[in-house]
Amino acid sequence: MGHRAGVISSAEREELGSWPGSAHEARRFILDRLPGSAPVEGLSAEADQYGRAEEPAVLVEPSVIEEGAFRAIRVLDPDQPRGQSGFAGFLDGTQRISIVSQRQGIPIVWATVSAAARLRVDRRMISWPTRPPIVRGKIYVPFRYLGQLADELRADPRVVDTAKDSSADKIPSRHPAALMEAAVKRVQDDREKAEQELAEAWCASEEGTLYVDGSLTASQVSSTSIKAVGVIKTHRRLYAEGDAFRVLVNLRAGERTSVFRISPQYRYPVASWYVRVREAAGHDALFGLLRIEAALTPDMSARADEVSRWIIAEGSPLALPDGRWDKMAYGIRDTEEFLRAIS
């Protein structure tokens, strides 16, 4: 799911008691509890870059589930108004990562993750009253490389071991960059969990459809509910090889592709398709291109048409001044601004 940086709110800080509420507090917190550690004035932006290790850009053959070959399907006349949207809410999450300390070269990371769902009532965005937004601050350390870490910290669920032996991840080396990448991976997992919590709560309680900024495949509930639609803006992995690729890059505004099924490893299968919300003439091939994820349903063609029209409708108003305005819905920009204000 998408993310943006943020800071922890004062309300959350009160709930946390003595637990740090900011990178600065975390720095002092670690100094008190980990003898021999040295504070680091690391900028969050510098720390963030470790988590942006690029996935390889790949083309994948789409497993088309709609009748016929992978093709472009017009869902809206470009000369017509964008129409109405059926989305009732928007979900997004953010994360902020800072190296606050180091001990003998081992980075100690402080991160906050946050997620919120925003409800749209009478065309205005408000907080979702059912579940408050989530703002969580945690310390990420590789336990195995910090022998003197107090038991008190080891037992605290808010202190995350970034070098734990697990089936999904191999143990990182002592290389600081490797440790940072491991920490960032954990932070991303935590942010995704926060987003999942809210998405599942939405599916359990709301009637309307939720626009989720990112994939649904991490959650069994979301990936099988018709109340959630995932929208992916980045395309390191393109489900369009061979003829499908030509169809995809030539997709016009107001068109979608055939629906295909994706089944990621360790995740849940969903139906997916591409839709172009803005004309790409004069821009790169991925301009205005979104990949949509939705629960697999028997009437997938009609569902894809309907959701595609909603997605196109969300193109107004523009999400400017955000740099991703060609793909971003204004509701998601509003949610990000909201998270920036409270976290």
């Binding site: 409708a313 108003p317 523009l318 204004y330």
Partner: protein, 655 residues
């Protein structure tokens, strides 16, 4: 406890200070420019939660758009398609407020973060420091209007100690003409003042100069255009919605002398209209007002002083040039004295008299004699004086001096003399009242910021700077405050502003107001005022009711001005106000016997004296004449009676 309507916000770029803070509200919040709000701080200072009171002086609204172009792009350049957007942009209402008061007042700190509430009635009193003068037993509050915001409907009081002295004094009103601001506000405020001025502070009266139209001519007549909202305001502010109960009008005669020179000349309203006439003694003291400085050099000034000191009201007989004894008591006497003196000098071929050159004497004679012509109707040749009741002014009475139709010279003379007399009496504490309000409209004419120094301007400056110690208070009004002498408006403790002209608001005097406040001033509705008062740290907007007196235009329609009348009718109308038994036949008989000047002089004397036996008094002022009697001879029937021919005016014996 009411719900908060906003939250204080501060950023590094837009921080809060001890004097200003910022807050946001919901989009449908009843906050606007001039709204009073209260901030409750979140953290105690020295054990006390701070409360900050402020008035909204600026408002901002914006969305998350960084460029208008983004909105154009959002809607494909088609404004009507904006309505199809599925989401409305996030929008903010952000307000800046000027601090009215902080409690506790020390230490004076920047306004803290906190919740913002609409000020309730008690909050308004605290914010404006009205609590200090609305105490039980020591209440000196004079209602000036009602402040309204949301559900709050709060009376705003001025402090009498700062309106009529001794702490501060004077009131100045600015506003565009024709928008029921200046005159209406003064009429309302005088009503309020008379209703609420504390008895413990003594008596109060008002002298109003009606300088234009019929504005102040019907203060004793009930208003015709009050509506329920006005009556509610009167009730809320504890003022009876009625006309002034004790009003006297004063106006000079017309140049012809038959009637009074006022728009209040309708016969039905003459009962409280009195003539204003002065003689030589009264005028000479203020000759400076009427005489041009270029005319009156040091030599002429010395001669005028000599005449004032040694000639007027004295027997003047021991002089070689004079042919007879003179007792100069009127302009007529003075003219005779000049004639006699100049003839004597010519006879003796003398060039000077008592060091005064003959040319100077001729010049002074010319200028002084001219006064009774220039101020005809006000200045009498005969010396009859009809004046304001100096020494017997009554509490809560209004004395209107109508100078609206007079020449500028006469207006200046009236203003100078009346204010000087008021001042003299107040200094001696024998005016009859302890406090006196003098209302002058068109102040930019009488006390202009530029131009040569005039006697009237000097007097206004004197009142503005020293009047409060005497109880002499100036209520003044003008369209352009920037054109009035700074020391006059600067000494006005209280200032009211109605709707203002944009050009006037662009002058430096208004730069202390925020752009939004200036804009509000330029668009104020009728019945709204901005008030500045020494207790209020920021100007406050209030609403006041229509005055409960007949407006000039309505009065002029209901009581049209009397048409020019004959001498007979003029005498009949005037004398009937003293004695209702006066008949037209009696007047006609007198008119047939006596000349116009003599009759008018007798009328003027009767109007001043108001004798019990009016007819006897009147006839005693006329020279004895034997009226023509009807001839009833035995051989003649009444139809055949031959009327006696009227006697020549200058020959009472008919010789």
């Amino acid at each position: 406890m009411t719900e908060p309507l906003g939250r204080v916000v501060a950023t590094e770029r837009k921080p809060n200070t001890p004097h200003e803070f910022h807050f946001w509200t919901s989009l449908d919040c009843p906050v606007g420019i001039g709204t009073i709000v209260r901030v409750d701080g979140a953290h105690p200072v020295e054990g006390k939660i701070p409360h900050i009171y402020g008035i909204v002086v600026e408002g901002f609204s914006y969305t998350d758009l960084q460029s208008p172009m983004h909105d154009v792009l959002s809607h494909d350049g088609i404004p009507s398609s904006a309505g199809f957007a599925v989401t409305e942009r996030a929008e903010i209402r952000l307000y800046s407020a000027a601090v009215l008061r902080q409690i506790p007042e020390e230490p004076l700190q920047p306004v803290p973060m906190g919740e913002v509430f609409l000020a309730e009635e008690q909050d308004v009193a605290t914010a404006l420091r009205m609590d200090s003068y609305l105490k039980e037993g020591a209440n000196t509050g004079i209602p000036v209007g009602v402040y309204r915001a949301g559900a709050t409907d709060s009376v705003i009081y001025l402090d009498a100690d700062f309106l009529l002295g001794p702490e501060a004094a004077h009131l100045n009103i600015s506003g565009m003409s024709g928008l029921a601001t200046k005159t209406s506000a003064v009429e309302w405020l005088l009503s309020s003042l008379f209703a609420h001025f504390p008895e413990s502070k003594g008596s109060v009266a008002a002298v109003c100069f009606n300088v234009k139209g019929p504005d102040l001519c019907f203060l004793d007549q009930p208003g015709t255009n009050l509506d329920d909202r006005d009556r509610e305001l009167y009730e809320k502010m504890g003022v009876k919605p009625g006309p002034f109960e004790n009003v006297s009008y004063f106006a000079p005669y017309t140049a012809k002398g038959f009637g009074l020179n006022t728009l209040r000349s309708n016969e039905a309203l003459l009962h409280n209209v009195k003539p204003l006439t002065w003689g030589l003694r009264e005028v000479l003291q203020y000759a400076e007002v009427l005489l041009n400085k270029d005319d009156i050099d040091a030599k002429a000034d010395a001669l005028i002083d000599f005449i004032t000191e040694r000639v007027v009201d004295r027997r003047f007989d021991q002089d070689s040039y004079l042919s007879r004894e003179h007792t100069v008591q009127s302009f007529g006497d003075l003219e005779n004295w000049f004639k006699d003196l100049l003839r004597g000098m010519e006879r003796a071929n003398a060039e000077s008299w008592r060091t005064h050159h003959i040319a100077t004497i001729r010049k002074v004679r010319n200028r002084l004699s001219n006064i009774s012509t220039r101020c005809a109707g006000l200045v009498t040749d005969t010396g009859d004086v009809s004046d304001l009741p100096f020494g017997s002014f009554e509490d809560r009475a209004v004395y209107v001096v109508d100078v609206a139709t007079l020449e500028e010279d006469a207006q200046d003379l009236i203003f100078a003399r009346i204010v000087s007399k008021l001042r003299e009496h107040l200094e001696r504490r024998d005016l009859g009242v302890k406090h006196l309000v003098v209302f002058v409209d068109e102040l930019n004419k009488y006390a202009p910021n530029e131009g040569q120094d005039t006697y009237v301007r000097k007097m206004l400056l004197d009142i503005a700077e020293r009047g409060r110690y005497l109880g002499l208070v100036l209520f003044s009004a003008q369209q352009f405050r920037s054109q009035v002498h700074r020391r006059v408006v600067g000494n006005s403790g209280t200032a009211l502003y109605g709707r203002m002209d944009g050009d006037e608001l662009a002058t430096p005097g208004y730069s202390v107001l925020s752009p939004a406040t200036r804009t509000k001033l330029a668009t104020l509705e009728k019945g709204q005022l901005m008030v500045r008062h020494p207790h209020f740290t920021q100007p406050i907007f209030v609403r006041f009711p229509r005055p409960a007196v007949m407006q000039g235009r309505d009065g002029a329609e209901k009581f049209p001005q009397a048409a020019d009348v004959s001498l007979e009718h003029a005498l009949y109308r005037s004398l009937r106000t003293i004695d209702e038994g006066v008949s037209m036949a009696w007047v006609r008989d007198l008119v047939s016997l006596y000349d116009e000047g003599e009759l008018l002089a007798a009328r003027n004397a009767a109007m001043v004296a108001k004798p019990a036996n009016m007819r006897g008094f009147f006839e005693s002022r006329l020279r004895k004449k034997i009226p023509a009697q009807p001839a009833f001879n035995a051989g003649l029937t009444p139809r055949e009676t031959i009327s006696a021919r009227s006697l020549p005016d200058d020959d009472p014996y008919g010789l």
